[in-house]
Amino acid sequence: MLDSVTWKIGGEAGFGIISAGTMFGRTVARLGYQVFVTNEYPSLIRGGHNIITARVSSREFHALNRDLHILTALNKATIELHKHEVSENALIVFDPADVELKTSDFPKPVHLIPIPFGKFVGDLHVEPIMRNTLALAATVALIGAPFESLSSVIADQFKKKGREVIDSNSKVAQIGFDYVKNTFKDEIRMYLSQPTQKERHLVINGSEALGVAAVRAGLKFAAIYPMTPINALITFLADHAKELQIVYKQPEDEIAGINMALGASYAGVRSMVATSGGGFALMVEALSLAGMMELPIVIDMGMRVGPATGMPTWTEQGELQFVIHAGHGEFPRIVFAPGDVGECFDLTVDAFNLADKYQIPVFLLTDKYLNESQWCAPQSAFKKPVTIDRGKLVFDQNLPALGPDDSYKRYALDTPDGVSARTVPGVKNGQYFSNSYEHDETGHVTEDPGKRTAMADKRLKKFSAILNDAKPPTLYGPADADITIVGWGTTKGPILDALEAVSWKLSAVSLNFLHFTWMYPFLPQATEMLKRCKRIVDIENNGTGQLASLIRQHTGIEITEKLLKYSGRPFEPEEIIEKLQQLSSRA
């Protein structure tokens, strides 16, 4: 009996592996298990090596670790590439027609589970892609889960495709499941302990979580040019546009995307864009426009490996400093970095409210690991009450009359927080100019030094007003520790699992973790928390320590001890523990 099982399935792109991962996640989540599913794939549609890794556990966890209990190979390459990763007594599921295997081919003792996938799909006259359904059913059998949990997921997954597709998938699944149960009675040793969670859990990727939160927060318009890793957001919005009464428009490029979103924002709807670093580079000009015009907009910036086209389907945290500094001229913005889907929901709702409240751009700095992994989260995390606050937005048709050649003071300077009431086209007596040039209170151009300074001051005043809504970093672990780890965004999971695994201490050295999700403007509360730390270790998925630089810039604290990873892969808890062991012995 195990309390956690990790399954990896590999094969060529086009084998349907990604959907098998999602279905596996939902199957075990419905049974009450915690699950996390992540994908690794090259930037190709067919061929290349795709893998899905799924960890399922009867207790709460936050990341994958180095365990590998079941390796399912839909091709020979999967064995060659991953045989060194398998744990002791792992089960190796493969088709003997693809590869001949002996237990001695593996560095550790393993059990072989040969299943003639190819023969089954041949005999049944079904598409070869259904091998993934066979493999999925075999895994469900190997972990000791009931078949009904899988068949109900199959029925829901293929509902839109019709009865025939559901039936053929269910039939194939039943065959795979029964074959394992009957043939490998003695090998089925992966039985998981009973789950403890009672509440229904969602299995949802970061892009979908962000999309759900955005529409919950009143998103009405999105213009998003396709780019990895935010494509699942496009799918979500496009699929639901009709029922949710929103408009998703695919623009000709990212420049058009953000300008469309700003046009929609100007005319009074909550709007957003999403992209990755390269696409955001094209949006930078219009980001500055949003700053000048004081237009609300939410930007989902899904980081992937750069520079340039980089490694498009892999993860990195390389754009923190980019989004903080992007845009010509000086103007306020907020940068959030959610670390999991729960934070993604909360911060997305906050992003839309604060964009409206302060009339500024707000970033959701996500990454490939968050956007494309399937996370498990309690339904309650998505059912929190949401307040939609449009801030100083005027739809009122009873504004005081304007003089004959006068315009509305949309940029009124008499405002303590730098935010003035804005109208939208169609509002009587609300006519003004939204101007890319420096302007006066009505939006007319000005180059007068006093007026310029006053208007710049109005915009910059928001920097301090924003702090009223600050969400300081979260401290996990003991309040007073010998070593404090700082991190941001999706390093949260591996760091938490590493620290929980060592019970927040290494021999006599106690540990805690300061997790940043509010990245910018840098918060005075964060400065205070950092100043109390005895010794700080910075952990980031980039090569230069961008959070450490930000901390140095705003606090003067120089963090010299860092664990940086920029291979395109997320952290494993084990490598964090190894680093902390080295550091704690050097205390």
């Binding site: 000709e252 420049i255 058009a256 300008n259 046009g263 709807v269 709007s271 004959p404 890319s436």
Partner: protein, 286 residues
């Protein structure tokens, strides 16, 4: 509703265009059309590019969005999606709309949003003191082309017709009443309407003067029916001793707003923000 007149659009600012600039004629014609259509300062929206044309917003009292260079069309489309009942007019230039914004021009045309685009076509970048624009004809000497323009010019009309614009016209800045007639038809047209307005740059172009144009321009109205795409294309290629003026092409077609299911319930900016069936949405992930 109070009557809209030309003076409804007055601001406290006076034009800074050079005396004799073609922009005056375009501005006057636009005000005449808006007044005629009863579109007052709070009833519509104008999106301006950057260039001499774009400075118009300062003396044009109507909801205005003075955008970035070349980015008028995406802004206009976004605003139109947010409120498709709102009349939207784009004030753009040949450099702004066809150089920096060329890609947006093609893609806006193929979507057929219900907006009107007025291109101030004078073959030069006036605001940066006289470099060649994308519509500059071969051989035209400017500050950036001392030996004359080498490249073929962009023809805004053939480009618009090819890309799928459903109203394509050419006007002349030297004839405000005639131009206003075209603008009114363009704004009334339900779809993407393009009016390329020939205008002399009195400061940086000593060749294409008012007199140069007047010698060549002829009105096609009465002798030409603008309902054939191929004929319109042929007409749009006429240039030289005779230059046609008027509506070259017009077609009734579904607009990009017509195709959005959400907008069938009213303007997007008036729809409820709360989601119905939220639990059902979450169930998709369970």
């Amino acid at each position: 509703m109070s009557t809209v007149t030309l003076s409804s659009f007055n601001t406290k600012f006076l034009p800074t265009w050079c005396p004799g600039c073609g922009d005056f004629g375009i501005w006057t014609a636009l005000k005449m059309s808006l007044a005629q259509l009863g579109i007052g300062e709070s009833d519509g929206m104008a999106v301006y590019g950057v260039g001499c044309h774009g400075n118009m917003y300062d003396w044009m009292r109507i909801y205005g969005f003075a955008s970035l260079h070349g980015r008028t069309l995406p802004v206009a489309q976004g605003a139109k999606f947010a409120n498709h009942k709102l009349p939207v007019v784009v004030i753009s230039g040949d450099g702004d709309g066809l150089g920096e914004g060329g890609n947006h021009f093609i893609h806006a045309a193929k979507r057929n949003p219900n907006i009107t685009v007025i291109i101030h076509d004078n073959q030069v970048y006036g605001l940066t003191t006289g470099q060649a624009s994308p519509t500059a004809k071969q051989g035209f000497k400017t500050k950036s082309t001392p030996d004359g323009v080498f490249d073929e010019p962009v023809n805004p009309l053939t480009l618009a017709i090819t890309a799928g614009a459903t109203f394509v016209a050419r006007g002349f800045a030297g004839d405000a009443p005639g131009l206003s007639k075209i603008f009114t038809a363009a704004i009334n047209h339900k779809g993407f309407s393009i009016v390329d307005v020939l205008q002399p740059c009195v400061t940086f172009d000593k060749v294409h003067t008012y007199a140069w144009y007047r010698q060549r321009l002829y009105a096609i109205e009465g002798t030409y029916t603008p309902n054939d795409r191929v004929k319109a294309y042929e007409k749009a290629l006429e240039w030289g001793d005779k230059i046609p003026l008027g509506i070259l092409y017009k077609e009734d077609k579904e607009t990009s707003e017509d195709r959005e299911p959400a907008l069938q319930n009213g303007p997007l900016n008036s729809l409820p923000l709360e989601i119905k069936n939220y639990d059902e949405l979450l169930n998709e992930f369970i």
